[in-house]
């Protein structure tokens, strides 16, 4: 079985995620792009496990862990974005430059 197509898919997804993180202004969309990157990693995990994995199928288990962590992260991330939006009437990361001061 070739895994190239999965790796290419993962790399493409990851690149899309990176692009989104770096270019999107809206915090919600950035979080969304992060999820894309996590998804790309999951695809890689599962693909490598399917190709060379052992009987424990650690790659697939790890993918489950990543999905769980990503869910938790999005939960917290969206909560933060919501609070920022409430305080500053904007979820635009360009304007979140308080650390600079």
């Amino acid at each position: 079985m070739l895994i190239s197509q999965f790796i290419v898919l993962g790399a493409g997804l990851f690149s899309l995620g990176v692009y989104g993180v770096l270019t999107r202004r809206n915090a919600v969309l950035i979080l969304l792009s992060v999820e894309l990157m996590l998804a790309a990693v999951n695809i890689n995990m599962v693909a490598f496990d399917a190709a060379w994995g052992d009987v424990l199928a650690g790659g697939q288990i790890f993918a489950l862990f990543i999905i769980a962590v990503a869910a938790a992260e999005v939960g917290i991330g969206l909560a933060i974005v919501l609070l920022i939006f409430r305080n500053r009437q904007s979820a635009n990361v360009d304007e979140l430059d308080l650390l600079k001061l």
């Binding site: 990176v18 993180v21 770096l22 270019t23 990361v93 360009d94 979140l96 430059d97 650390l99 600079k100 001061l101």
Partner: protein, 713 residues
């Protein structure tokens, strides 16, 4: 055959007696190995006086007199030890070794510089004389120098003077001897010029120093000639070479080495024609004159000849030089004695008398009479110190050096008067005072030199010995003559000076009495045929292997003694007739009716004038101009150059400071500021920019990692 052979039986010592003694000499003992203290104590205390003298209750005098007292005590103990059992000891410390030299199978140092101390008859005699006379003169100087502006400094230089002489005397090698020689020269320069505010005193000091320098240079050359041809500067090595015979390299260069060393002795012992400094040295304080003429300085030359005696005595070495020595000594003893007749300054009378007596010593050395010459040095030290201190006492009272301001002082200064007369009689050679015995021994030795066994006959010069003997006897007459004059003009007749003279304090008269005592008894230790303590102690036992060179009278040579005494008595009587009765004016008396004699003597045979117009004046102008030019051009150039260089260096340092240092500091500040400005742009606060950089970094790292792995696998 000598005409003096007709005088009577002549009995002189032979060698065997000395050789017997040589076996049982004392060669070790704590007293001898500690004798290095003799020169070291005065030298160290000199510095102590310079640094701490002024804070002491007696302003340094106690250290000075203490150092000399120490030497005197040590000298007395050694002197009597030596007379009873004989001592020969040599200790040394090696200071430096230079180069290497193959000596047969051994490899030794080519030049060895040693500091040592010699304890033998000759040096012990000198320790004794320097110590005893020095102590008495130092005690006296306390009274004489009272109130002097540079009192402490005077005693520091004075101690250096004595210490330098002891360094010289204790030297077991020529190098150390030269060190002491120069120390004495420097100290004498300081002391003669003690009253340097007076132009005469400072120029006299320079005159003494420069005249001595001629001798010093010759001595140095002589020491190099002898030292290099022997391969060692040690006297014992030199004597070994001489004892081993005339085949050595030394004998090839001996004549010029001997002449050079003798010229050195002529400088210090003020022999004609290098005698001119000594009378002028009277510009120094009187205690200085006393010590200089008695124990230190002028005795150094005679000491040097005595130390090198075998060199001058053994055939095949510098024995030819003895003709020079005899000629110089004889000239000196007679010519300078005559000058003393016309001097008005009492100290100059004594100075010329010293020259004359030094002439006797040198003549004796030249005639091969080692003991006689040294014995005269020994006795002369006491009565000449006595005479100078007596003159100082008179000068202290009258405040003038001139005998034309004195007269009749017998009544005012009885102690000074009586001791001075004892000194004068001892100097004139009246039985049984010290001067008689030593002068008689010299006369007898000269006569022996002219006898069949003597040195000069063997060299074909009997007539010379006769001539020298006549001159020496005439010298004895002249000595008595001028001393009678000095005593008459000073102590008899009417007082011609100002004020009321008074006897000097006890601190000055007690040394006079002590020296008078020595002047009476010092001769008794070596009466021919009766006592031979001096001969045994100083003479025969010193040069093991050279006894046959030295001759001394075994019994009194009655003929010579009688003629010598008659000459002295005649001198006193005629002097008494001319001066004591005070008939004529002084100038007329001095002229003796001989045309041209008075100006000739007053001008000191025009020798000083010849030196002045012949050497000093032609040299002084160009030298002064040269020095001026040198000062104006070379020294100023150097000073200006140094200033210019300092300025340039300052400018350079300023530029370096301004440009390089400040530039570096400013540049670092600028770089920091610029870097900060550039780096500030990174701190934009924009999260996405940070993230971009983060990703870029990660990508680069990963790319690097991948490429690296790709290359290695």
């Amino acid at each position: 055959m000598s005409v003096f052979a007709a005088l009577g039986p002549l009995v002189l010592a032979t060698a065997e007696e000395g050789a017997e003694h040589a076996a049982d000499l004392t060669t070790s003992g704590p007293l001898l190995s500690a004798a290095w203290l003799i020169p070291v104590v005065p030298m160290v205390l000199t510095f102590a006086i310079v640094f701490w003298g002024k804070k002491l209750p007696y302003r340094g005098w106690e250290l000075a007199v203490g150092s000399m007292g120490f030497v005197a005590l040590y000298g007395i103990v050694l002197f009597f030890m030596n007379m009873s059992q004989g001592i020969t000891y040599e200790g040394s410390v090696t200071l430096a070794e230079i180069g290497t030299q193959a000596l047969g199978d051994n490899v030794g140092s080519a030049l060895v510089f040693e500091w040592g101390w010699m304890v033998d008859g000759l040096s012990i005699m000198m320790y004794f004389v320097v110590g005893v006379v020095g102590t008495l003169v130092f005690v006296y100087a306390k009274g004489y120098m009272e109130g002097d502006a540079r009192y402490t400094w005077f005693f520091a230089s004075f101690t250096l003077f004595g210490g330098g002489m002891l360094v010289l005397v204790s030297a077991p090698n020529l190098i150390q001897l030269i060190v002491g020689w120069e120390l004495v020269g420097v100290a004498s320069w300081l002391l003669i010029g003690h009253y340097w505010e007076d132009h005469d005193a400072s120029s006299s000091a320079i005159k003494a120093f420069l005249t001595n320098k001629i001798g010093d240079a010759a001595l140095f050359i002589g020491a190099i000639i002898v030292g290099l041809s022997v391969g060692s500067f040690r006297f014992t090595d030199i004597m070994d070479v001489i004892a081993s015979g005339s085949g050595s390299p030394l004998s090839r260069f001996a004549f010029w080495g001997g002449v050079a060393i003798f010229i050195g002795a002529m400088g210090k012992s003020a022999q004609f024609p290098l005698h001119v400094w000594l009378p002028d040295a009277m510009a120094g304080p009187t205690p200085v004159s006393a010590l200089m003429h008695a124990a230190t300085m002028v005795t150094a030359g005679v000491y040097l000849i005595a130390r090198m005696f075998p060199f001058y005595a053994v055939d095949g070495f510098a024995d030819e030089v003895r003709w020079v020595i005899i000629a110089v000594g004889t000239l000196t003893l007679f010519l300078t004695g005559l000058i003393a007749l016309v001097q008005d300054d009492i100290k100059k009378v004594l100075a010329y008398s010293t020259l004359s007596q030094l002439g006797y010593m040198v003549t004796a050395m030249g005639a091969g009479a080692y003991t006689a010459g040294l014995f005269h040095l020994f006795t002369h030290a006491f009565f000449k110190a006595l005479l100078f201190l007596g003159a100082g006492s008179v000068i202290h009272a009258v405040h003038s050096n001139n005998m034309s301001d004195m007269g009749g002082l017998r009544r005012f200064m009885p102690k000074t008067y009586s001791t001075f007369v004892i000194g004068a009689l001892a100097l004139a050679g009246i039985v049984p005072l010290a001067g008689f015995w030593s002068k008689d021994e010299i006369l007898a030795s000269i006569r022996f030199a002219g006898s069949a066994d003597g040195y000069t006959v063997a060299q074909g010069g009997a007539w010379l010995a006769d001539f020298v003997l006549v001159v020496a006897i005439a010298g004895a007459f002249v000595t008595a003559f001028y001393m009678t004059r000095a005593v008459s003009l000073t102590f008899f007749g009417e007082y011609k000076g100002d004020g009321h003279p008074h006897e000097s304090p006890n601190v000055m008269t007690y040394p006079l009495v002590a020296l008078a005592g020595f002047s009476v008894v010092a001769g008794l230790i070596n009466i021919p045929g009766v006592t031979s303590l001096f001969t045994d102690g100083v003479g025969a036992r010193f040069f093991a292997g050279f006894h046959e060179l030295e001759h001394h009278a075994e019994s009194l040579d009655l003929g010579v003694a009688l003629i010598g005494t008659l000459a002295a008595a005649a001198g006193i009587l005629i002097g008494y007739r001319i001066w004591f009765e005070d008939k004529e004016t002084q100038r007329a008396r001095d002229a003796f009716g001989v045309p041209l004699l008075y100006p000739l003597l007053r001008r000191k045979y025009y020798i000083d004038d010849a030196y002045f117009y012949g050497v000093v004046k032609p040299l002084r102008e160009p030298v002064a101009r040269g020095v001026d030019w040198f000062n104006g051009h070379v020294i100023d150039l150097v000073v200006n150059g140094a200033g210019f260089l300092a300025r340039a260096a300052g400018k350079l340092v300023y530029l370096f400071d301004q440009r390089a240092l400040d530039g570096a500091i400013n540049a670092s500040a600028g770089i920091t500021s610029f870097g900060g400005g550039r780096l500030r742009l990174l701190q934009s606060g924009r999260v996405q920019q940070y993230a971009t950089l983060l990703f870029a970094g990660t990508v680069l790292l990963v790319a690097g990692f991948v490429i690296y792995n790709g290359l290695t696998t």
